[in-house]
């Protein structure tokens, strides 16, 4: 999934992004880049605007001002589902599974952008459609296996334990074959053991060539896994650098201790 040739410019570039909700200036003048192939973390206190930034990157709502550039294309005029086919996938802070559908079906919906069968195709069910469906199921099973949930493929997604639901979301996101994957607090609600496994999983995902941008409150996980960290506070970028640099930054210490 890696792009050919060195890429000095980041895979994702955020330039002077601004977003307000009524009186709340949720994201103010934020700029940073995410280089291809890294695990980058976005941290900050609650209400800092991290989820809002994710929503802006994935096109849930438009920017007030500024630009978000993915793979050298401005995402401003793209529809939310087009961004998925361009290669941006995400998970959600409050798990957003299709609860009444099976785990496998959830992952198959993630394959939506990589398959073609339309309304008439589904009715006619010609051999090429059948082949596509078969391959899609195999791929979906592959991703379920990858996150360790192959055994639960036919369970209702809503019936799974919370930690497993998180994994289904990751499998669903992977199924769309992203180049960039956004994870919003993937470790929230997980126990220490599960958090450790999650860390391993994220490294495996990176090794597939997928760039990761994650929001995470678990500092030990973040510091251990992230190549680079961006700190947000009250909507603005407070600091940026390697985990070591960020940890040493006075402003960050002040913000975290003062809060």
């Amino acid at each position: 999934m890696k792009n050919s040739g060195p890429n000095e410019k980041g895979l994702l570039r955020i330039e002077n992004a601004n977003k307000s909700f009524g009186g709340v200036h949720a994201v103010r003048d934020v700029s940073f880049e995410v280089q291809e192939g890294v695990i980058q973390a976005l941290i900050g206190p609650n209400g800092a605007g991290k989820t809002t930034l994710f929503n802006l990157i994935t096109g849930v709502f438009p920017l007030d001002t500024g630009h978000i550039i993915f793979n050298d294309q401005d995402t401003g005029d793209k529809k939310i589902f087009n961004l998925v086919s361009m290669g941006i996938a995400r998970t959600f802070q409050n798990v957003e599974l299709f609860t009444g559908m099976t785990v496998l079906e959830n992952v198959l919906v993630g394959l939506h952008v990589r398959t073609k069968c339309g309304f008439l195709g589904a009715i006619a069910r010609l051999p090429n459609v059948q082949r596509e469906e078969k391959e899609a199921r195999e791929k979906a099973m592959h991703w379920l296996d990858f996150v360790g949930l192959a055994h639960a493929a036919n369970n209702k997604a809503g019936d799974l334990a919370f930690g497993w639901q998180r994994s289904v979301e990751i499998a669903r996101a992977l199924a769309s074959e992203p180049r960039l994957m956004l994870l919003d607090e993937p470790a929230a609600g997980l126990n220490a053991n599960e958090t450790g496994q999650l860390g391993d999983l994220m490294r495996q995902i990176r090794d597939l060539g997928v760039t990761l941008l994650l929001v995470e409150h678990d500092m030990s996980l973040t510091m251990e896994i992230a190549d680079r960290i961006v700190v947000l506070d009250q909507g603005a970028k407070l600091s940026e650098g390697t985990p070591r640099e960020v940890q040493a930054d006075e402003k960050v210490i002040a913000a975290y201790l003062g809060a």
Binding site: V60, V84, F98, V109, F119, R125, N155
Partner: protein, 315 residues
Amino acid sequence: MVFTLFAAVIICTGAALEGDYYHEQLLTFIGIFTLLAVGLNMLMGYAGQISLGHAAFYGIGAYTTGALTVHLQWSPWASLPCALIMAGVIAYIVGKPTLKLSGYYLGMGTLGFGMIMHVLFREWTTITGGPNGLVGIPSLSLWGLDLSTGRNYLYVVWGCVLLTFFICDRLVNSRVGRALRAIHYSEQAASAVGVDTAKAKLQVFVFSAVVAALAGFLYAHMVMFISPGTFTFLASVKLVAMVVIGGMASIWGALLGATFLTLLPEHLSVFADYEMIIYGGILMGVMIFLPQGLTRGVLDIYEKFRAKRKGTVED
């Protein structure tokens, strides 16, 4: 497999009913309502988009074929595609802005559309015959075979039901059907994982309108007379009730709902007076106690019960 069995049941029932005109007609009506319910169920049950004006498409199908065959003496076989296309095109035009709405507003929007169509059926006298209705719609025949006899028409209608079931079954179990169900659970999540939700909703809206128009066509050529009173708000509510009773997101449930609500008036002699109380009560009762619909709700309860007994609650 299921469909072959279903076809066999229809053929045998038809044969067994030979000459019993009353029951043949009743069964034919059940077929027509099943068509309407299964089409609406694709929209409501699977995609989770309510339509309180679906009788309008039923009417568009009936009036299009009625007007073409009565005023222009077209053959019904020529007017059939026109009726379906008419409903499809109108659904496309209306659906495009309407389906941007959701929840209450979608309900009001579709209701308003249904009302406008009803006014049109009533007032556009030159085409529709106005409040008195349109008389003299021909019956169907094919290569000299008279299809209007009780049993033949029953086969025609149930043949259409079978075909529609077959199509719906394929749709549901496909990429398209999965996208629709995803939209039902959360439209925003569906679009965030890559589904073009506006397109998917519009497609299923047009599909359900076309199925309703097919039912309208079959109805018009069965009773050979149509009037605006058949295509009212109450008719739309009845269709919703059929879907709700049968259970959202269940093709066979639509058959059940249509059968139940078609037989109810036949077996309840006080029905005429209490019709509305009963429909209203059913809608409220099912939605309050079994919001998944009757069949799904009962199945869910059964499954929970079984899971408890087996003690295999995964965690």
